[in-house]
Symmetry: C2
Subunit: 360 residues, 2 copies
């Protein structure tokens, strides 16, 4: 209305808001309390090594953070935890939504803790940044395990790329192991490239299936079956039992068509009913058997070292890209170059060169 | 022997070698001749646009070079050729060794030139740096096409990574198109990830198969069948004819299990005998039909733009990695870090951070 009376200089500022009164003893105490809640790196490491789940959680939060100061802290913690890590069995669990992954992990995890194991459950779900954590997000589906003092459950980190999400989970494994967890279950949803990422960080890869649904209907790609060390047909109960047994025979036959694995392990097919707690001890026995065979023939150690080399290169690639694409100038100019490509005004190579020159 | 008499200063130099005598008129003429052989960028562009195959060859050599000065020249040439490119149909051809790719390309290419087409044959074969060009290396297998003035044949560039090899071929397409070639055939061997790279640079993807061999025996992964716009069963002649017809029926049935492609094109299965020149016009008719449908529904243009965006990101990733890993210091230190991982003395993440810090 009265435009003329407002400041027209670009340097003008709005009137400041009066400072809130925080000089009360109460407010000061609250701030001090809050500062206390940000423990030092050494306090976190000490807590992790003392099996303090709160310290573990906080350290994982630093691992997952995109703040570079947090990343620095996280790296120090990981380095200090390293001598205490690597002493676990890492099991990947995949299967399409509806196959009963949460129930399986609840039952299998509880079985393991009653056997004296300490179980950490992590996840790689690149979609979780969109769906706000579909996997493990609904912890109420794992009621018993959540309350179990020998279990630790952590939803998937959110992140823009699968590479980033997977790397964070991979780093969290080290922290869980340093905190004394000797069995790490890593859940992923069976619909994309995330299985390959999980496969590259676990010792044993378990594929959950349902009976009575064709391979295509279940949406599992053939490559995932090739990766599996075991196929477990879940919900083998009631009216489903017969179909589950037929499916087991069919999968056994199908698996025999694949060449023998480098591990010397012949993938097994078994059935279970996670909801009725049936067939669970047999699965653990199978995994123990696998561990024995592959430890004896040296494959277990060899695979872990190969995975570590893979993750070295993977981490470098991921960070080189992150450094580049997170640059504000690059972000803006990339958008512009994509527009030029859309209008056929440049080649991909000229555009790439232009963008690379901006950064160097 | 007489160490005391030699210079001990770090600044000392060995005696110079006398300059060779090159003052003869003959030698000067030879040097001038040689200098003439290195044409300027604008001469090469002019040559390419005048459909000079020698200029085209030389420009592609610059594209394939790892010398950064050559890369600079190559990029200038590509940029200047760009307005004259994009006017072709790009056809990817894959199939395992022994399926008859060379004979097929010889027959199909010759058929196209008799129809007035100008045909360029390129290849993506990441193994060629080891085998010194297995694909198209033996040009004698394409005798007619090599002599055909309306054809241009270029073996696969050699390179350390598939990404690098593929990018170089992708850039060469532009030069071939600017030189007036309106049909680009890109050959790749059907045994790895190279099909995905070729699929991302062609309009039509053709998979060559043989009758009478099961899918597994032929070593073709399911993902490659999913990419195919057509499956052509080659060597459908003599005693093979019946088996080829059965195979055609089987593949047709199998293809119907896949969801319809975004292009609106239903992949076709056909037979041919490249060696007997049978079934070849039908294949061209099919591709022309594909071009008509996808040009009409806009998919052709849309796909090319998407491919260009893919290649922008691909090129950036490739060059970021090349910049990093080609650094001499990094090369040496990477080796050392891999050794430490082998001995369990570091984590992949600590090693990655150490290496990244060296470069920045």
């Amino acid at each position: 209305m009265n435009k003329k009376t407002t400041h027209t200089s670009a340097l003008s500022e709005k009137d400041g808001i009066p400072s809130p009164e925080i000089t009360s003893a109460d407010a000061i105490a609250k701030i001090q309390q809050k500062r206390k809640k940000q423990p030092t790196v050494s306090a976190l490491v000490k807590g992790i090594l003392a099996n303090d789940k709160t310290a573990l959680s906080r350290a994982i939060t630093l691992v997952e953070s995109t703040n570079s100061k947090h990343t620095e802290k996280a790296n120090t913690i990981i380095n200090q935890c390293l001598p205490h890590a690597n002493k676990s069995v890492r099991i990947g669990i995949t299967g399409v939504p509806g196959v009963g992954k949460s129930t399986f992990i609840e039952t299998f995890g509880s079985f393991l803790t009653t056997k004296g194991k300490k179980v950490a459950v992590l996840a790689v779900d690149p979609s979780s940044s969109l769906t706000k954590g579909s996997i493990l997000g609904d912890k109420t589906r794992m009621e018993a395990l959540v309350k179990d003092e020998n279990a630790f459950i952590r939803p998937s980190p959110s992140g823009e790329s699968l590479g980033g999400v997977a790397r964070k989970t991979r780093e969290s494994i080290i922290l869980c192991e340093a905190a004394g967890f000797d069995t790490i279950l890593i859940e992923t949803v069976g619909v994309g490239q995330s299985e390959t990422a999980v496969h590259s960080m676990v010792d044993f890869f378990l594929l959950l299936k349902l009976a009575g649904a064709g391979d295509q209907l279940q949406g599992i790609k053939r490559g995932i079956i090739e990766m599996a060390d075991a196929i477990v047909i879940n919900k083998a109960d009631g009216d489903n039992l017969k179909a589950a047994k037929i499916a087991r025979t069919e999968f056994k036959r199908a698996l025999h068509l694949y060449p023998t694995k480098e591990s010397g392990w012949q993938p097994e097919v078994t059935t279970c009913s996670a909801i009725n707690n049936e067939g669970i001890p047999e699965i653990w026995e199978m995994i123990s058997n696998y561990m024995e065979i592959t430890s004896d023939n040296g494959h277990f150690q060899k695979k872990r070292k190969e995975q570590n080399k893979f993750w070295l290169l993977q981490t470098i690639d991921e960070r080189l890209k992150a450094d580049f694409y997170q640059d504000k100038k690059i972000k803006k100019e990339l958008e512009a170059q994509l527009q030029l490509i859309e209008k056929d005004k440049t080649t991909p190579f000229a555009a790439a060169q232009y963008l690379l020159a901006l950064k160097s």
